[in-house]
């Protein structure tokens, strides 16, 4: 049985017991009052009444006898006889009632009374007959000296019997009054108790059921609105439910957090997908454009060569043939750049133990054969026996692009174009710098330097516009950062890679 049920059952039980007790006590009290009333009505009242009738009848019979003695009128004889019969009747009643009497003294008194009454009736008969026989004086004498004292004695005896009964009635009434007042108090008490019980039951119900229910509804509402934080305590009034709710809340919160994490992960993936999608479509258009443009130009040139050959303009035709070969070379370099780009995009490249000096020198020798006709000073600064555990393909691409850019965009107005390549070992990583004294990158375009197909030197249009884009991809795949400083004095590219 749960907490709530226990409390509710207990409070209802307590209230029921209180009402039951009230009913029993009230019944007992009412019974007591009824019993005493009955005693008065059926025992005490009739006894006293019979007693009183008897006393009255005795007095009346004496008065009748006296009148007879004095007046000798026969109607007083009849009167006396009537009272005598009342005396007999009353005595019978009294004896009848005496069955209910508990006091033995009263019963004894009654027993003593019976012969006295018999004597009393006898004396009256004697006195009556004395008058009939003319002995009036004797009759008066007997009446005063013998009969009246006997009657006093009888009346006193009757008083002895009736007094305790009167007292008992008085006592009973008093008792009843006490009982009634007690009953009134008890009822008032129970009325108060039932009001208090009702109020406390309401409070208890509120605390045990309604408040927890409200709390639980609020919790459910909060959960419904997606707020799973367990900041406020859970109180449903039921420990098991509390535990279940707590677990549910924790799980929801965990799931929500997982959800949020997954969503942000998805957002990131989505963004990067969107970005690479855009990049890809831009790449496709630009590639097709840059592949097609030289082909279209070659076709145009070929047509013109045909015309010129027909017209015998041989020099112009030769010149245009050179143009065609230049265009084709441009195409070749674009195709190889595109290939390099796909390599740069590959996620995994094997790690090699690269002899940096050897790699750099190889690149310089290769580039020197391309630009063999140009006067360029290239110097390197590499720590002795400097080796890097890195992707040889990527490092080669990075260096070759940066160095060939430095040569390609040399400043023809400066005395000697120069390129410096520096490797610097630094705590936990290394820095690569490629510095030139070339034309520099115009400030307005510095933000687009690493973009796809970006070219800033219209008069120096040999490049595909992919070089630095490829470099940045490689650097990023190596976990490094690339930056540059450029002015009219030249450009320095700086790559920082942590080990």
């Amino acid at each position: 049985m749960g907490d709530i049920e226990k409390r509710i059952a207990f409070s209802f039980g307590a209230l029921n017991l209180a009402f039951l007790a009230m009913a029993i006590i009230t019944l007992i009290e009412i019974n007591a009052v009824t019993a005493s009333s009955r005693k008065i009505q059926y025992e005490l009242q009739p006894s006293i009444q019979a007693n009183l009738q008897l006393t009255n009848a005795i007095n009346s019979s004496i008065s009748g006898l006296q009148s007879w003695v004095l007046t000798q009128k026969p109607r007083f004889i009849r009167k006396r006889a009537a009272f005598i019969s009342i005396i007999d009747k009353s005595l019978k009643q009294l004896i009848n009632q005496s069955q209910n009497w508990q006091d033995p003294l009263l019963l004894e008194e009654l027993q003593r009374l019976e012969p006295k009454l018999a004597l009393f009736k006898e004396q009256q008969n004697v006195i009556e007959n004395m008058v009939k026989e003319g002995q009036q004086e004797l009759a008066i004498e007997t009446l005063v000296d013998v009969h009246l004292p006997l009657s006093y004695e009888i009346v006193a005896s009757l008083r002895k019997i009736s007094d305790p009964h009167s007292w008992e009635i008085a006592r009973t009434f008093q008792q009843e009054e006490q009982n009634e007042s007690f009953l009134k108090n008890v009822i008032l008490l129970f009325l108060f108790l039932s009001i208090a019980g009702g109020i406390s039951l309401a409070i208890l119900l509120n605390r045990a059921v309604l408040a927890p229910l409200k709390n639980t509804i609020q919790l459910a509402d909060r959960i419904g609105k997606g707020d799973y934080s367990s900041t406020s305590t859970i109180y449903s009034g039921e420990e098991k439910l509390d535990k279940v709710l707590q677990i549910m809340l924790e799980q929801l919160e965990q799931k929500q957090q997982l959800n949020i994490a997954q969503q942000s992960e998805l957002k990131k993936i989505n963004l990067s997908l969107k970005y690479s999608n855009e990049e890809l479509s831009q790449f496709a258009y630009r590639t097709s454009h840059d592949l097609k443009a030289p082909l279209v130009a070659v076709r145009g040139l070929a047509e013109i060569i045909k015309e010129d050959l027909n017209d015998g303009i041989i020099d112009e035709a030769k010149h245009n043939a050179t143009r065609i070969s230049r265009q084709v070379k441009k195409l070749e370099s674009l195709v190889s750049d595109i290939l390099e780009l796909t390599k740069a995009d590959q996620e995994t490249q094997s790690l090699d133990d690269v002899d940096v000096t050897e790699l750099t020198n190889d690149i310089i020798i290769r580039l020197n054969t391309v630009y063999f006709d140009k006067q360029i000073s290239i110097n390197t600064s590499i720590p002795n026996n400097f080796r890097m555990l890195t992707s040889r393909v990527r490092l080669n691409q990075i260096l070759e692009n940066l160095i060939s850019n430095a040569i390609k965009y040399r400043d023809k107005e400066k005395k000697l174009p120069s390129v410096s390549i520096r490797f610097i070992q630094q705590n936990g990583g290394y820095i690569i710098e490629v510095e030139d004294n070339g034309v520099g990158i115009p400030e307005a375009y510095q933000e687009q330097v690493f973009g796809m197909f970006q070219r800033f030197h219209p008069d120096n249009a040999a490049g595909s516009g992919l070089g630095l884009y490829i470099v940045k991809k490689h650097v990023n795949k190596l976990g490094g950062e690339i930056s540059f400083i450029s002015s009219e004095a030249g450009t320095t590219f700086r790559i920082e890679i942590q080990d």
């Binding site: 258009y285 097709s288 454009h289 097609k292 443009a293 279209v296 130009a297 076709r299 145009g300 040139l301 047509e303 013109i304 143009r323 265009q327 115009p442 307005a444 375009y445 970006q454 070219r455 800033f456 030197h457 219209p458 008069d459 249009a461 516009g465």
Partner: protein, 145 residues
């Protein structure tokens, strides 16, 4: 003397255009620029030879009969040039005397759409379609049968 401007970074494309002009027998002076930036400079300098006001409609010498404009160029592309041009001068007066022709090898439908937004552009020619005959209508020349 009337002139034609070619704004294209590709030397061969400029050469091919010039050959077409020669074939059509045009005697115009050909002004060449390799990017939008240089073209703006070129127009500005031309017009400043006689006046500081590039908008002045009677300065005909600084206004070519036609501008052949490439889209893909470094520094300032064809659209940026058109934008800049329409911001700098009264373009409606300008195009009353000058045909603006876009000549491109771009297949990107976005470029075509973007070109349409500049309603003063009179022709859109693909470099693959370029020959003397396609240029004829631009110069209001009768068809050479």
């Amino acid at each position: 003397m009337s002139s034609i401007a070619i704004i294209d970074d590709d030397e061969i494309d400029r050469y091919l255009l010039k050959r077409c002009f020669a074939k059509l027998g045009l005697k115009h002076k050909v002004l060449e620029a390799t990017s939008g930036v240089y073209a703006m400079e070129m127009f500005f300098n031309l017009c400043n030879e006689k006046s500081h006001d590039g908008e002045n409609p009677d300065k005909k010498h600084c206004q070519p009969d036609a501008i052949f404009l490439d889209i893909n160029m470094p520094m300032m592309d064809g659209f940026e040039f058109l934008q800049k041009l329409s911001e700098t001068i009264d373009i409606n007066k300008f195009v009353a005397n000058t045909k603006v022709v876009i000549i491109t090898s771009s297949d990107n439908p976005k470029d075509m759409e973007k070109a349409r937004q500049f309603d003063f552009v009179s022709h859109y020619i693909k470099k693959g379609d370029l020959n003397a005959e396609t240029l004829r209508p631009i110069f209001d020349l009768a068809k050479n049968d």
